[in-house]
């Protein structure tokens, strides 16, 4: 057949297919070469065994995807399970995972170390001596379950629901546990977020009604990172690869970082700002853009709540947009380049250059702040507010190359049998009235609040969380945990020993990333995906034809997964279903039987994930089989500006439009496969629900804020006692030079190293070999001034409540006048307790009066085990636990612990020993009281007699009545100092 004839035939076939409305060609993006085993071969993959060389011995694997459980990036992993031995041989990246796209940092492959760690906990343990004494006995799961369930059941029968608490580190899952707590009806969800990201969340939330950013770095022209996101950021690996893609496209990278981090080495503009001055620089950039009219006027006029601002702040309800522009310019006039230069210690010309680069980005400006400056400083939430001010001036929100809000780039599917119930009691320990605007629980204040307010928790779960080590003021935690009048039963759910588990009554062994089920979705690019974490040996055995009904059948020892544990525990709390709890964990297919994890996730995948059943069917699989085989599914991509989408006609019924353009409807909320969002926007006076906002005659979806627009000015903040900071402003940090004594310096204590992640990765030998200690970064000029002669010299670092002794690292990589110490290291185990021998020092804890002490008796070192590598451990220095010497610093608005410390650094004194720590508890309590004094409690500032703005999200939301304060708020009195 001639080429012409073939051409005609294929043209005709194309026309015919497309005339039917079908696609002839399958589309682009299918051609990329990748260094991954093709997924068609995952079930039976053959590699030559490297150890057998030069013989050609084939090893057969079945490749099972799962999700990393180390940091919050939750990247896709591919476990290579040996088909003969049914052991995991290695972990590599899962190329089917839309967020990480097959790439991993060191922590992913190191999961292998974690699952074979010779020091991990393999069986349930019960305390037999005093709490903290270090005496344990192995018990069966049944005994532990019955004991714990019995206590919880009793608490519930006696209406003491608020005495059950679940304290979680990084959850690494979406929806399972909050659904369970809702089913239990307890307001006991306690997160770690106020020592982590709460500050940034507050800043974003008060602008957008959503609390996390999803920067589209890959398509940006200018990327602005506050801190080292390229190496250690929140979604480190997924974002880092996209930052590099952006740079390869020609994007300019601006980095604010006091340290010479790996990220700054990639920056086009590096600003080593004085700690806490970041908002001053950002506001100077914004101010210049406003003065020079280098902003997106159309966007600002259309989407900012400027009318509300002019009405409420300037009493000019009839003001024009031009009037607002004048007011805006005046409001930011003080933030000149010279002002910012003086605050930040950066030349004004440098800031001007950055401003010009930023203004040139148009809408392709992606920006990110998460912890760092936000979590370090008093008023740190204004970093995210100020950064979003720039994005909002440019119109660079939810557009290609800009920054999306989390809610639109994340997909949480609706689970089966969602409990439609809310706790009846408000937990005043977790949500004290002093912090009505805090996004999350005041978790790190728990020991102080319990002590001060007579709190009692009957059953306290710490779930893969280590507050004694992670939180500031850890000795107060030890005091609380060892006091039976405060903690009735402490259950530590953890794969490995940690400093908190030593003070538990039960230690329950939980699975690592390849030993448990979870469902995740994260805002990592402009798209939505779900990813599945699964026990890989279970799936591997099922591929071989075995039936596995309980993950303990395949996990080492008696290690369990949480999902099955919680289902079993719930059934034992409510064995006959009379409490109305068990029903949420009953099988739909087989009423009266327990729901299995297969049924739970199978239902979600079949019913709540659009497109997944169809994709699975095209390969002859069920949705659950598809997820077990590939581990992830992309629900949608290129979401775009949701706020500009019109509200569908059928959602507009008996519509009411109020004076601010907010549109209310009587139409019910349409059925959706997604889990309901967390915000609860107030209905109108007649009970209609908020459905959108009217802009230029169109009813659009708008933003999930009280105004429906981007909130440059926050009515919530103004009405709840903080009018002076209701717009993006600069709050001087508690480590501002004006607040320090002459011999004090700021200590940056929060920075990560890319190969460790808090306590979770401490049992990975490959990671420990790379990073196992945390010297004090100090600039040569400071070292010279203080008489510190060389790297490795011991120095004493004095905080407001104590001191620690650490080695110095003299480096040009830190701004003069500032010191830094990474918080990843300094793990310890008390003498006589088990623990991680490669990463924990053995210590003696002591107490004399109000003074606690910690003394290192022995560092890490080599030991005999089944793993020959443990005899090759060459390091002994495992760092210093500096957080013990940090007082609590709750920001009065966000509730975030402000991590930066004002310290005095001096050469170690005679007798000072490496790792030594001393803390005065009286000073710790005084510091708590001082910071508490800066708050503006709801009882004096609530505009409506409630404890907290109802529209703001909560993980497990109590019923409406629980929001009411116990008595009407008295008349506002004179204010405490507050933030300046």
């Amino acid at each position: 057949m001639s080429h012409d004839e073939l051409n005609r035939r294929v043209s005709a076939a194309r026309s015919e297919t497309e005339a039917r409305g079908e696609t002839f060609y399958p589309g682009p993006s299918r051609v990329h070469l990748a260094a991954y085993p093709p997924k068609e071969r995952w079930l039976d993959w053959v590699e030559l065994d490297s150890r057998s060389w030069p013989e050609r011995v084939e090893k057969r694997y079945t490749l099972v995807p799962t999700t990393c459980f180390n940091c919050e990036s939750a990247c896709g992993l591919l476990a290579y399970v040996d088909r003969d031995s049914l052991q995991v041989r290695k972990f590599e990246g899962n190329p089917e995972h839309p967020g990480s796209r097959g790439r991993n940092c060191a922590k992913g492959p190191a999961t292998l170390n974690q699952i074979v760690d010779p020091d991990r906990i393999l069986y349930p343990l019960k305390r037999v001596g005093e709490r903290g004494e270090g005496k344990w006995e192995q018990v069966g799961w049944d005994e532990a379950l019955d004991d714990i369930a019995g206590r919880i059941r009793t608490a519930m029968v006696e209406e003491r629901h608020d005495e059950v608490m679940y304290h979680v580190g990084r959850p690494g899952e979406d929806g399972f546990t909050t659904r369970m707590l809702a089913a239990w009806g307890v307001d006991g969800h306690n997160s770690h977020t106020n020592v982590c990201s709460a500050s940034a969340r507050v800043g974003y939330n008060f602008w957008m009604g959503m609390d996390r950013p999803s920067p589209d770095h890959a398509n940006a022209d200018v990327i602005l990172l506050v801190s080292s996101h390229l190496e250690t950021g929140h979604y480190f690996n997924p974002h880092a690869q996209r930052v590099i893609e952006g740079k390869k496209r020609g994007a300019k990278l601006i980095v604010f970082d006091t340290r010479l981090s790996n990220t700054t080495t990639h920056a086009d503009h590096w600003l080593a700002t004085y700690p806490g001055s970041e908002p001053a620089v950002l506001l100077a950039v914004a101010s210049w853009m406003i003065r020079e009219r280098k902003y997106n006027r159309t966007f600002v006029e259309r989407w900012w709540n400027w009318r509300e601002y002019m009405t409420e702040v300037h009493a000019r309800p009839d003001a024009s947009f031009e009037d607002f522009e004048v007011a805006l310019e005046e409001a930011y006039a003080e933030y000149t380049f010279d002002f910012a230069a003086a605050e930040a210690g950066i030349p004004a010309d440098t800031i001007r250059q950055v401003a010009e680069v930023v203004a040139g980005a148009g809408t392709r400006f992606s920006a990110h702040n998460w912890r760092s400056a936000g979590s370090g400083n008093l008023g740190g939430w204004q970093v995210a507010r100020s950064l979003t001010l720039i994005s909002a001036l440019l119109g660079a929100l939810a557009v290609e190359g800009g920054t999306y809000p989390s809610g639109w780039n994340k997909y949480v599917p609706k689970p089966p049998r969602s409990p439609k119930r809310h706790p009846r009691k408000w937990n005043t320990i977790l949500w004290p009235e002093e912090y009505p605007l805090a996004m999350h629980e005041l978790s790190f204040l728990m020991p102080h609040l319990m002590r001060e307010r007579g709190g009692y928790v009957d059953t306290y779960f710490t779930r893969v969380y280590n507050p004694v080590w992670t939180n500031p003021d850890g000795f107060s935690w030890i005091e609380m945990l060892t006091d039976a009048s405060k903690i009735g039963l402490h259950v530590a759910m953890t794969p490995t020993w940690n400093e908190t588990a030593y003070f538990a009554d039960y230690v329950l062994p939980m699975g690592h990333g390849s030993e448990r089920h979870d469902l995740t979705s994260y805002e990592q690019y402009d798209g939505q995906f779900i990813a599945f974490r699964q026990p890989v040996l279970r799936t591997a055995r099922e591929r071989m034809g075995e039936k596995v009904t309980d993950t303990r059948q395949v996990n080492p020892g008696e290690v369990w997964e949480e999902n099955e544990f919680w289902i079993e525990l719930t059934w034992r709390i409510d064995p006959d279903g009379s409490m109305g709890i068990r029903e949420f964990f009953e099988s739909r297919k087989h009423p009266g039987q327990k729901m299995t994890v297969d049924e739970y996730y199978g239902w979600i995948f079949e019913n709540s994930v659009p497109g997944l059943p169809e994709a699975a069917a095209s390969e002859g699989l069920s949705a659950l089989e598809y997820m077990r085989r590939y581990g992830a599914f992309e629900v949608s991509r290129k979401i775009g500006p949701v706020y500009e989408q019109p509200v569908p006609h059928d959602e507009l019924d008996d519509v009411h439009v109020d004076h601010e353009g907010r549109v209310y409807t009587r139409a019910p909320v349409p059925e959706s496969p997604r889990a309901a969002g967390s915000n609860r926007l107030e209905p109108d006076a007649d009970g209609r629900r908020r459905v959108g906002i009217k802009i230029d005659g169109d009813v659009l979806k708008g933003w999930p804020t009280p105004s429906g627009k981007l909130e440059f000015w926050s009515r919530t903040m103004a009405e709840w006692g903080w009018p002076e900071v209701a717009t993006p402003t600069y709050v001087r940090s508690h480590v501002h030079p004006s607040k320090l004594d002459r011999d004090q310096m700021p200590l940056l204590s929060t920075f990560r190293v890319p190969i460790q992640i808090h306590t979770r990765s401490g049992n990975a030998k490959w990671l420990d070999e790379i990073a196992h200690t945390n010297p004090l970064w100090i600039h040569p000029t400071d070292a010279g001034r203080l008489g510190i002669e060389k790297t490795g010299d011991l120095v004493r670092v004095e905080t407001e409540i104590g001191h620690f002794v650490v080695k110095a690292w003299i480096t040009q990589g830190i701004r003069p006048g500032v010191v830094a110490c990474s918080h990843h290291m300094g793990r310890w185990k008390p003498e006589g307790q088990p623990g991680q021998r490669m990463s924990m020092a053995t210590v003696a804890l002591g107490r004399s009066g109000d003074t606690w002490s910690l003394e290192q008796k022995q560092g890490g070192g080599a030991f005999m085990s089944d793993d020959a590598d443990t005899m090759r451990i060459w390091w002994t220095d495992v760092g210093v636990h500096q957080n013990l010497t940090h007082a609590v610093h709750p920001d009065p608005v966000s509730g975030m612990h402000c991590w930066h410390q004002a310290v005095r650094v001096r050469r170690a004194e005679p007798g000072d020993r490496f790792g030594e720590i001393s803390v005065d508890q009286e000073k710790a309590q005084a510091a708590y009281a001082r910071w508490l004094g800066m708050t503006r409690p709801a009882s004096r500032h609530s505009p409506d007699g409630t404890r907290r703005p109802y529209w703001m999200a909560r993980p497990v939301r109590p019923e409406r009545e629980a929001y009411d304060l116990p008595s009407p708020p008295p008349v506002t009195e004179a204010e405490p100092a507050g933030v300046e």
Partner: protein, 299 residues
């Protein structure tokens, strides 16, 4: 020779180099080709044996990226298009070629002539210099589908390349490609890299070829990238491996010389490079000196 251009045929042949999808069955059927391959067959050919990228075959490094890819990306920009993520992938290049022909036919005569010249330049500069040699190996190594697909594609492109009016200067990729280094002058690593860079040695050395060399010489074949495999083969028996490689190069030279599809200057280039490689490898085998060949680098 027909003056009408088989644009849809070229586009369809390009799409058929993608990972198999359900739509491919209808396209193959329209072209009278065998049923499309399984994903596994596709991966074997395009991900393990013959990477369908211009940069792999025209770059001095024999790898993805580098100056060769930049040159191709520059062409995309020169014709007013944003380079895709992999601008030198066969699918992308054939799609671009078809797109330019489409645009030429839909434009005014002056604009059309300009675009048409761009299409000719693309064929001459970035497709012909490697694709005939490449498709020859596809036909050697592929299964039923890929043998038929490769044969049809080289026929079509041969017809396209033979149309009058093409550039008369040699393609830049070929004109600037360095020759295979002689390890006796002290650059053993460069020599090894050159053996894996088709444009330098005139041979597309696949994993399957290396496996055959190992079997022929009765040597252990290590699992790994080609360079790693080659180094370890040479480390075991450099003389035998040089001889086997020389034979491969001689066969390749003969194949290029007899290639009825490639433009004569392109065939001559590849045949010359392969013959030179065969000669060098034969000499090295005769000298039989590991130290000379490998400069102590590959053991």
């Amino acid at each position: 020779m027909s003056t009408a251009r088989p644009v849809e045929l070229i586009r369809a042949l390009g799409v058929l180099a993608e990972m198999p999808a359900p739509e491919h069955a209808d396209i193959a059927s329209a072209l009278g080709l065998p049923a499309p391959p399984s994903g596994s067959e596709w991966a074997d050919l395009f991900m393990f044996q013959l990477h369908p990228y211009a940069s792999v075959h025209l770059g001095a490094e024999g790898m993805l990226g580098g100056d060769a890819r930049e040159r191709v990306a520059g062409f995309w920009r020169a014709v007013g298009r944003t380079p895709p993520k992999e601008p030198d992938h066969l699918v992308a290049l054939l799609g671009l070629y078809a797109g330019l022909l489409d645009e030429a036919s839909e434009s005014s005569s002056a604009r059309g002539a300009l675009v048409f010249r761009s299409a000719q330049a693309l064929l001459h500069e970035h497709l012909s210099p490697w694709l005939f040699a490449y498709l020859g190996r596809v036909v050697d190594l592929g299964g039923d589908f890929h043998r038929a697909w490769g044969a049809l594609l080289r026929e079509v492109l041969s017809t396209e390349a033979a149309r009058p009016g093409g550039p008369e200067t040699p393609a830049t990729h070929l004109a600037e490609a360095p020759a295979l280094a002689d390890p006796r002058s002290g650059n053993g690593p460069d020599f090894l890299a050159g053996l894996l860079a088709p444009v330098r040695c005139g041979v597309i050395l696949t994993r399957a070829d290396l496996a055959r060399v190992a079997a022929w010489a009765d040597l252990g074949l290590r699992a790994g990238e080609r360079r790693y495999v080659l180094e370890h083969l040479l480390g075991q028996d450099p003389v035998a491996v040089m001889r086997a490689l020389a034979d491969l190069a001689r066969d390749a030279a003969a194949g290029h010389r007899a290639d009825p599809w490639a433009p004569p200057d392109v065939a001559a280039f590849w045949a010359g490079r392969a013959a030179a490689s065969a000669e060098l490898l034969t000499e090295l085998a005769a000298e039989g000196a590991r130290a000379v060949v490998l400069s102590g680098d590959a053991s």
